[in-house]
């Protein structure tokens, strides 16, 4: 039996533009799920899902609680809830305190995913103005997963990727142009 795998992308200020560039270049037969956790205002859920769905042929949907995570789908964390991954590869939602002033918190998703996916986890942290996600990258690496960070030189807001490089053991630093290729190459269907 092959191990379950997932790519989780976290970002804050300046990360939406990166996603809009990367998503159209992704292969449509990826053999892992993509989960996106972006800090944003409350109540803008369908807007973001629609926006991203128009940029890719992959199925894009908001993550529902208890939903089974399927390969080849792109899931968006709903606003104002933390998104966690269970051991049976379903989603849980959690309305607990904000972490790093954020809900959803990237750390929360990365950390629970590190427990569930272990070596099958790839986490990518993008542009942003706080350090949410950095502890999650540390947990990802500890669990045997791959940690990726946007090159701060290409980031609209450099603090988040800089903190990641400073504090976490980062597997690779990627320019925006290199991201889609890197992600496609992770798929065994290629």
């Amino acid at each position: 039996m092959s191990k379950q795998r997932a790519l989780i992308i976290g970002g804050s200020a300046g990360s939406l533009d990166v996603l809009l560039k990367v998503l159209p270049a992704l292969d449509i037969n990826l053999d892992f799920a993509i989960i996106i956790v972006i800090h944003r205002k409350q109540g803008t859920d369908s807007l973001l899902t629609d926006l991203l769905a128009h940029r890719t042929k992959l199925k894009v949907k908001e993550a529902d609680e208890k939903e089974k995570i399927l390969d080849g789908n792109v899931y968006i964390a709903p606003s104002d809830y933390h998104l966690l991954i269970e051991k049976d590869f379903t989603f849980s939602l959690d309305y607990s305190e904000k972490i790093n002033y954020s809900r959803p918190s990237i750390d929360v998703t990365f950390q629970s995913a590190a427990d569930a996916y272990g070596e099958g986890l790839v986490c990518l942290l993008l542009s942003g103005s706080n350090a949410d996600g950095v502890n999650g990258l540390i947990a990802t690496k500890k669990g045997g997963g791959i940690t990726l960070v946007q090159n701060p030189n290409s980031a609209q807001v450099t603090y988040m990727p800089e903190q990641a490089i400073l504090r976490a053991d980062v597997s690779a630093i990627l320019d925006i142009e290199a991201m889609a290729n890197y992600i496609n190459s992770l798929s065994k269907n290629n």
Partner: protein, 275 residues
């Protein structure tokens, strides 16, 4: 299996078992990722030196155990959260209950009481409060004590006032409370129509029949079998033509009770259509 935090999966299961055996609280049906995070958070916040010490205190120290229950359950709430939902209550659901001589509402998982006071304010403005009773229950006695005081942080009032207006409120929100140092003390006439009581959705039974049951952002912490069990408890506790209101991301779809319920508009509110 890898562990992102200070507590392992095995230790989580040991604690769940201890708490069930020693205290009768059943967390076995809780979603594990979230529960594990809460337990790890409590472990770090309370600066325990070892799992053994954490476990010993949880088992043997009743005062600490109260704190444990408060810490592992989520008690984040606010007044008029999701204003669109409260607008539906104000404009459609509560007015439709006016035909009843007496209105019984169950707020399950009321936490520190912000939702109970929000509902009472709307009932008052609809001139229904005098014939209503809000049964506000929670697993956790500590939060019920707070709810009973009717006092909330004054610093939150600006946010709550905005929510109130967005939900269709037209009065001066500050007329419902008086400021006392850093707290806002709410009008005691609101509390007069509330009954606060402990109730564990996992193990306690139906205790009355209601025309409206609200349980928002509680079921997300339960696994599917427990969600269905609790929905059946609500079904047993709801009169025909009564309403069940869940959180924005919760649904009765796919559950055994869904056949006898009809969705009200696009919100997470269902009406019971057959007994």
């Amino acid at each position: 299996m890898p562990n992102s935090g200070p507590i392992s999966d095995e230790e989580v299961e040991i604690l769940i078992n201890d708490v069930l055996e020693q205290h009768g609280y059943d967390f076995t049906g809780y979603s594990r990722a979230s529960l594990k995070r809460r337990i790890a958070r409590l472990y770090s916040l309370d600066k325990h030196v070892s799992f053994a010490e954490f476990r010993y205190k949880t088992i043997n120290d009743d005062v600490y155990f109260k704190h444990f229950v408060e810490g592992v359950t989520v008690n984040v709430t606010e007044m008029f959260r999701d204003p669109g939902f409260y607008r539906l209550l104000r404009e459609k659901i509560l007015p439709s209950l006016n035909t009843y001589p007496f209105i019984r509402i169950w707020l399950a998982g009321c936490s520190t009481g912000e939702e109970a006071y929000s509902i009472a304010i709307i009932l008052k403005e609809l001139n229904l409060l005098h014939k209503s009773l809000i049964y506000a229950t929670d697993i956790n006695p500590t939060v019920l004590e707070k709810a009973g005081t009717g006092m909330f942080p004054l610093s939150q009032m600006k946010n709550y006032s905005e929510n109130y207006i967005a939900s269709g409120g037209t009065k001066d929100f500050s007329s419902y409370y008086s400021a006392s140092y850093s707290l806002a003390k709410f009008d005691t006439a609101l509390k007069a129509k509330m009954i606060f009581s402990t109730h564990n959705l996992v193990s306690d039974r139906s205790f009355n029949e209601f025309q409206l049951i609200l349980c928002r952002n509680v079921l997300i912490y339960f696994d599917r079998p427990l969600q269905f069990q609790v929905m059946q408890l609500f079904d047993q506790s709801l009169e025909n033509l009564g309403y069940l209101a869940l959180g924005t991301k919760e649904t009765i779809d796919f559950s055994p009770i869904s056949k006898s319920y009809k969705r009200v508009g696009t919100d997470k509110v269902w009406r019971k259509v057959s007994a």
